[in-house]
């Protein structure tokens, strides 16, 4: 690690001890839980000919069609997720999904946790089965964001920031993430590559330009991968220049570095071991679940110490005030818990791929670090070396380490879209198909199928990292 920037202003908040990270994970998270099927609608700007009930029904029918033995009567209950009542303008919309699917009088509950809504729903279904309360649980999620204009939609999303202190300043999440990445670049890139530049302003400008270029690599990757994913909303072949030249939304984030509003639905079915064996010869086991949180307001984030992953050392981060606004402590906490549950001590070695919540190209790079794919500060170099890229795909620039740990082989949120309540479940479905080896069957294209993957992670993230879930899936057959 390079030394901290010397020019850090005097007013930098004093480092304070923060609440201790959870030291002990409960020894048991219950019964073995398997995912046995899933379904996704194509994510789109708008699906005016399907309301949320029909979208979920389509995804549900697709999932059930995959397993003839799995009929509606075998499902013990449901967990249903959507983020915003403002978008639906139909309170208790989950009840309408429940009855549309013919699930009454089985038990259900609606799940909402901001941008991590889908990831929480995935884990809620896990919990229903792990606890023994259900043998078979359906998790279904959706969002219908096309019901208002894009900038009104941004307003609805920003209502998930503090309405006293944050919202009235612009009501704009892209602005909050821009604040985070400007600081992230300042903490790392400025010193790593521009320490020789004497003029402080010039050094920061150059660092931001370099950070923008590297973020664009992520955007190119995710859009490019999605060319082989028929469910994706915005698959396309882009160059770094295309990304940089697209409209500036909140400096330095451009339009192509940001996910869009979407309509879509996704479902996942989980069950216990006995049912899993009955339903499929290709089950996927959920071997780890983790969650974390952080303050709603960015301004309240502490400047403390980094909670360490097993392969990290305290001296790696002696001078790093953490998380500040540069990193997602909730993502780190979720990773620590999920890795411990799954027995993962080195994510690069122990995971074959990650479906990661890339609402912004910046947050994908920040999350590489939170999840320990590289050390804090190394996210830009990790991207440039190509580790998170797919092998065998031409991105238009060199990716020497491609295939090391593919991130968002599906195209992620940036290219697939982000119908919030469905997104985390969509990741679950794509990860499930990867581990089953059935990408070719479901995508009609084998290009994104990784070779013999054993274990993957899905990562779902709520506004500015106020909540994050990480779930680890493992192939449950030989």
């Amino acid at each position: 690690m390079p030394a901290r920037p010397k020019a850090r202003s005097k007013g930098t908040p004093a480092r304070r001890p923060t609440a201790r990270p959870r030291s002990v994970t409960p020894p048991s998270k219950g019964r073995r839980v398997y995912m046995v099927t899933g379904g996704v609608t194509k994510f789109a700007k708008a699906h005016p000919s399907m309301d949320f009930r029909l979208m979920v029904k389509r995804a549900y029918d697709y999932a059930l069609k995959d397993i003839p033995e799995l009929t509606a009567d075998r499902i013990d209950g449901t967990r249903i997720s959507y983020f915003s009542d403002h978008f639906t303008r139909q309170l208790k919309a989950a009840s309408m999904v429940q009855d549309y699917l013919g699930m009454n009088p089985k038990g259900s509950v609606r799940i909402e946790w901001g941008g991590a809504t889908g990831g929480e729903c995935f884990q809620a279904a896990y919990e229903a089965v792990a606890s023994g309360r259900m043998d078979v649980c359906l998790a279904a999620g959706f969002e219908t964001m096309s019901r208002v204009a894009t900038w009104k939609g941004n307003e609805f999303i920003a209502l998930a920031s503090d309405t006293n202190f944050d919202f009235p300043l612009g009501g704009f999440y892209t602005g909050y993430y821009a604040l985070m990445v400007i600081r992230h670049i300042y903490e790392y890139l400025r010193l790593q590559k521009f320490a020789h530049v004497k003029d402080e302003r010039e050094a920061q400008r150059l660092a931001i330009a370099e950070g923008s270029r590297i973020m664009s690599l992520v955007s190119v990757k995710n859009h490019r991968n999605a060319l082989h994913n028929p469910y994706a909303q915005y698959p396309k072949r882009l160059t770094v220049e295309d990304v940089l030249r697209s409209e500036m939304i909140s400096y330095p984030l451009t339009r192509e570095q940001i996910c869009t509003m979407s309509d879509g639905a996704a479902v996942v079915v989980m069950c216990d071991e006995e049912r899993a064996k009955e339903f499929t010869d290709r089950p996927v086991r959920v071997i780890g679940v983790g969650t974390g949180t952080d303050t709603m307001r960015l301004a309240d984030r502490p400047f403390g110490k980094v909670p360490l992953l097993p392969h990290e050392k305290a001296k790696d981060y002696e001078d790093l005030p953490y998380p500040g606004v540069h990193s997602f402590r909730a993502g780190r906490a979720a990773g620590i818990e999920a890795y411990r549950h799954a027995g993962i001590t080195n994510p690069n070695r122990d995971l074959d791929f990650i479906e990661l919540h890339d609402a912004y190209a910046s947050s994908e790079i920040q999350t590489y670090e939170d999840l320990g794919l590289c050390r804090y500060g190394e996210g830009y170099g990790f991207t440039e070396r190509g580790d998170p890229f797919l092998k065998g795909i031409d991105y238009g620039f060199p990716t020497p380490n491609a295939g090391a740990i593919p991130v968002n082989p599906s195209g992620g949120l940036i290219a697939c879209g982000h119908p919030v309540g469905a997104t985390g479940l969509m990741q679950g479905v794509f990860a499930f198909w990867q581990l089953q080896g059935t990408i070719a069957k479901h995508f009609g294209d084998p290009a994104l199928q990784l070779k013999d993957p054993k274990r993957g992670a899905i990562h779902s993230h709520a506004g500015t990292g106020s909540a994050v879930t990480v779930s680890i899936l493992e192939r449950g057959f030989r």
Binding site: A7, R8, S9, K10, G11, T12, P13, A14, R16, P17, A19, K45, A46, P48, S49, R89, S146, A149, W151, K152, N154, E155, A158, T163, N164, F165, D166, F167, P168, L169, G170, G171, F172, T174, G175, Y176, A178, L179, M180, I182, R183, Y186, E200, R201, Q204, R205, E247, M248, I249, S250, Y251, P252, R297, L298, A299, D300, R301, P302, F303, V325
Partner: protein, 175 residues
């Protein structure tokens, strides 16, 4: 009897028709037709600032208030106030914050929520203050994107016609 609304195959055209007449038919690529209507929603909430009230009343008097943990051994100082300490849970007391600080981070927003689009471009800043443990989010005025850098000295300005909003305070570059 009302005439059947006009039919469109582009969602954008449907949106435009709703602005004109309030109803349209969307025909998708499979030929499925859906009736789409305008569905307005307006409401004025009765919003209490409750325990945050002294902060907003302070802004109206030209004062920037933070809060400090009352427990001597903790004493954490928050730039964005809260009535109980996030570190130890004790009650806090109101303190005056310095009106001069530095940029902890910044951005220029070229878009925003619908309600703020007319104000674009605007700058957002996280401002840090000497001896204070957390930062404050605010607008940054009288400067442009190319002026800004982390560590830049800034100072507070207050709205002479306060609206009882966080926008009653903003920061400008220190002279």
């Amino acid at each position: 009897m009302r005439a059947r609304p006009p039919t469109y195959s582009k969602f954008r055209e449907v949106q435009a028709e709703l602005e004109r007449s309030g109803a349209a038919i969307y025909r998708d690529t499979d030929g499925v037709e859906s009736l789409v209507i305008k569905f307005p929603y307006q409401i004025n909430y009765i919003h209490s600032y409750a325990e945050d009230s002294p902060f907003f009343l302070g802004l109206a008097e030209g004062k920037l208030r933070g809060s400090k943990c009352r427990r001597v051994k903790c004493g954490f100082v928050f730039a964005t106030p809260r009535s109980h300490c996030m570190v130890c849970g004790s009650p806090t007391e109101w303190i005056d914050l310095p009106t001069k600080g530095r940029l902890h981070s910044w951005t220029t927003c070229h878009f925003g929520s619908e309600a703020f689009l007319k104000e674009t471009p605007y700058n957002l800043a996280l401002v840090e203050f000497a001896g204070v443990g957390s930062v404050l989010l605010a607008r940054l005025k009288d400067c442009v994107e190319s002026d800004l850098y982390v560590g830049m000295p800034v100072e507070a300005r207050f709205d002479p016609n306060p609206k009882y909003s966080i926008t009653d305070v903003w920061f400008v570059p220190s002279k």
